[in-house]
């Protein structure tokens, strides 16, 4: 009987934690279908007009498009450089391994505001016009430590004899990397890619300092918030959550399949 009580208490506790985590998201999603412009229960009625309005908004479409371009570019560059850096640190770090590791992870600890200001100062110094490229560069600086961290964690479990066996069978360093290391790192690459996508897609602060005329989706939300929390903002937020969530689900499924079949 005691066991059952414990189970019930744990169940209720878990439910409360989940509610705490997800209630705000659910409420945002609900209000995005509200006919009234005021976010208050009871709802005055259901409508899709806010979504229709969003998709009719050319500036918003452009912002979404910019956000996606930035996120994809960030993922590609950040992952390729970050994975290579992790492999380099793991393989050739020697007695510098822990130092290099800590050093390459520092940007993660630095406040985004500081990264943003530093990037802006740097761009001014080398006289580069702010554009999508400067935003992408900024996002790479911000996300690469996460990629390195994830890849290094996976590499700890890598058996060096696999490399030796491949070398023994005549594989070149590049072949060893492509055919042995990359398949081993696949789950880490996927996780790192999705992580940097989500980080980049949501980023406001670094984007704010590094963008020129271009707007991104989170920046739009910020600017719209000046007029209060409108159902329109709720609709944008809901779309953002859905895109991020979709990627998280894809990541989870891919990782699970990778674990089932090596």
């Amino acid at each position: 009987m005691r066991r059952d009580n414990v189970k019930i208490v744990l169940g209720i506790w878990t439910g409360l934690v989940l509610l705490f985590l997800f209630a705000p998201l659910i409420i945002v999603a609900i209000f995005s279908f509200n006919t009234s412009t005021i976010s208050r229960f009871p709802l005055s009625g259901y409508t899709l007009s806010w979504y229709a309005k969003l998709f009719g908004d050319g500036m918003l479409r452009e912002a979404l498009w910019n956000s996606l371009i930035i996120a994809f570019a960030t993922v590609v560059v950040s992952c390729s450089l970050g994975i290579l850096a992790a492999v380099g640190i793991h393989r050739h770090g020697g007695r510098f391994t822990s130092g290099l590791r800590a050093f390459s992870l520092t940007p993660m600890m630095v406040p985004r505001l500081v990264i943003g200001i530093a990037l802006l100062t740097f761009y001014n110094l080398i006289q580069i016009d702010l554009s999508l490229f400067t935003v992408i560069a900024g996002h790479i600086v911000m996300t690469m430590p996460y990629v390195i961290l994830i890849a290094l964690a996976r590499l700890v479990g890598f058996e060096k004899t696999l490399e030796e066996a491949a070398w023994d069978l005549g594989a070149s360093t590049f072949t060893i990397f492509r055919e042995i290391m990359v398949p081993f790192l696949k789950p880490a690459i996927i996780a790192a890619g999705l992580m940097s996508f989500t980080l980049s897609f949501d980023e406001v602060v670094v984007t704010f300092f590094t963008t020129g005329r271009e707007n991104t989706l989170p920046m739009m939300i910020w600017s719209k918030l000046r007029f209060g929390i409108t159902p329109e903002v709720n609709a944008i937020a809901t779309i953002t959550v859905l895109i991020s969530g979709l990627f998280a689900v894809i990541a989870e499924l891919t990782l699970r399949r990778a674990q089932e079949k090596p």
Partner: protein
């Protein structure tokens, strides 16, 4: 029939040669200047406890470690250090090191792809070697879906399919259970005869070494202590380390008295004992020595009266091992082990006669690691 690069060669040609090879890791000297010549088509085992330098030696032959000094020749040519698919050796690793994301077929084909063998030929060669090792039913499986013994075979197939001149094996049976290990020993020996190439094998298991090898190379602290066939090493160990490591030995401390040729006498806790000296060891009177007597050379019973040496002792333990019985005898402060065939019926505590022939006793150099208190 498969054709291996070594199979057309004359049998007494040297396949692997080490000349004064030294390897240090920091301040630790793993291999301390060894010379070794391995004949073509032989099964050679490097034997010794962990840390004796056997694996380092094997890895140097395989090119995975570079010697600090000395030369290594494979097939009469210095080892290329830059890798590549035309290297003459292939290694079978202790943990198999199979590529986890590849099937058996893909694992086995890997080396052939690196050698740029045409696709159609890869397919037939993979099929042949997989059949030879009895893996045809598992060819589409991933390594983790297979047992340790099967993974071991895949590792062998992956190395052999590239037709190396020398196959290097680093404790390949270490991870298997006893029964599987015995079975794989038999399979390995058979496989080596079939493919006819040189095998250099590393193990710390003396029974495995005796079971498999044409030549055993006993190593200790980075040096080769003795090499020869299992029988030569067992019957004529050069020192107490070898006597103790290969088979079992009763080691008794003593003081050398006199000798002529390989016949000698020395004073032991049991009295003056006659024995034989190894060729390389000629002590002088008063030197500390060790006697080595194999348990099966210690005979028990009344008929020991006619032997070169006999005495009375007390049985302290009797264990029946199936084919033989292991007796433990106490004579004063000295403990002796004796193996007698069949079931031995006398109980512990009984006083028995024991003895041996002087020709079965070896008088060896003193070694502090094996010294027993002198009575």
């Amino acid at each position: 029939m498969l054709h291996y690069r070594g199979s057309s060669r004359v049998m007494n040609q040297i396949d692997v040669e080490l000349q004064s090879v030294v390897k240090r890791f920091g301040s630790f000297t793993a291999v301390d200047g060894i010379d070794l010549a391995v004949q073509c088509g032989q099964f050679v085992t490097l034997l010794g406890p962990s840390g004796c330098g056997k694996t380092t030696t094997l890895r140097m032959i395989g090119g995975l470690e570079l010697p600090d000094s000395g030369r290594i020749l494979v097939g009469g040519e210095p080892l290329a250090t830059d890798g590549g698919a035309s290297r003459p050796t292939r290694m079978v690793f202790q943990n198999y090191a199979l590529f986890p994301h590849m099937t058996v077929a893909e694992n086995v084909a890997f080396g052939l792809r690196m050698q740029k063998v045409p696709k159609a030929e890869i397919e037939t060669r993979v099929k042949d070697i997989v059949a030879l090792l009895g893996l045809t039913a598992h060819i589409e499986k991933f390594p983790r879906q297979m047992s340790g013994g099967q993974q071991q075979r895949v590792a062998l197939a992956r190395a052999l399919v590239t037709r190396p001149r020398v196959l290097l094996l680093d404790e390949p049976l270490g991870a298997l259970d006893l029964k599987m290990r015995k079975h794989m020993q038999h399979e390995l020996k058979k496989l080596q005869r079939e493919v006819g190439i040189t095998f250099v094998y590393v193990t710390h298991d003396q029974e495995e070494a005796m079971n498999l090898s044409d030549t055993i190379v006993v190593m200790d602290h980075g040096l080769i202590v003795q090499q020869g066939s299992a029988a030569e090493i067992y019957q004529n160990p050069v020192n107490a380390y070898v006597a103790d490591f290969i088979g079992e030995a009763n080691l008794l401390s003593g003081v050398f008295r006199d000798g002529a040729g390989d016949r000698a006498t020395a004073i032991s806790p049991l009295g003056v004992l006659g024995g034989r000296l190894p060729e390389s060891y000629r002590p002088s009177a008063g030197d500390h020595v060790l006697f080595s007597i194999r348990p099966e050379h210690v005979l028990i019973g009344q008929n020991t009266a006619s032997l070169d040496f006999n005495k009375q002792g007390t049985l302290t333990e009797v264990a029946y091992l199936g084919g033989s019985s292991r007796l433990t005898l106490a004579v004063g402060d000295t403990t002796l082990r004796a193996d007698v065939p069949g079931l031995f019926t006398a109980p512990a505590g009984e006083v028995v006669m024991f003895g041996w022939q002087a020709e079965n006793v070896r008088i060896l150099r003193h070694d502090a690691r094996f010294t027993t208190p002198v009575a």
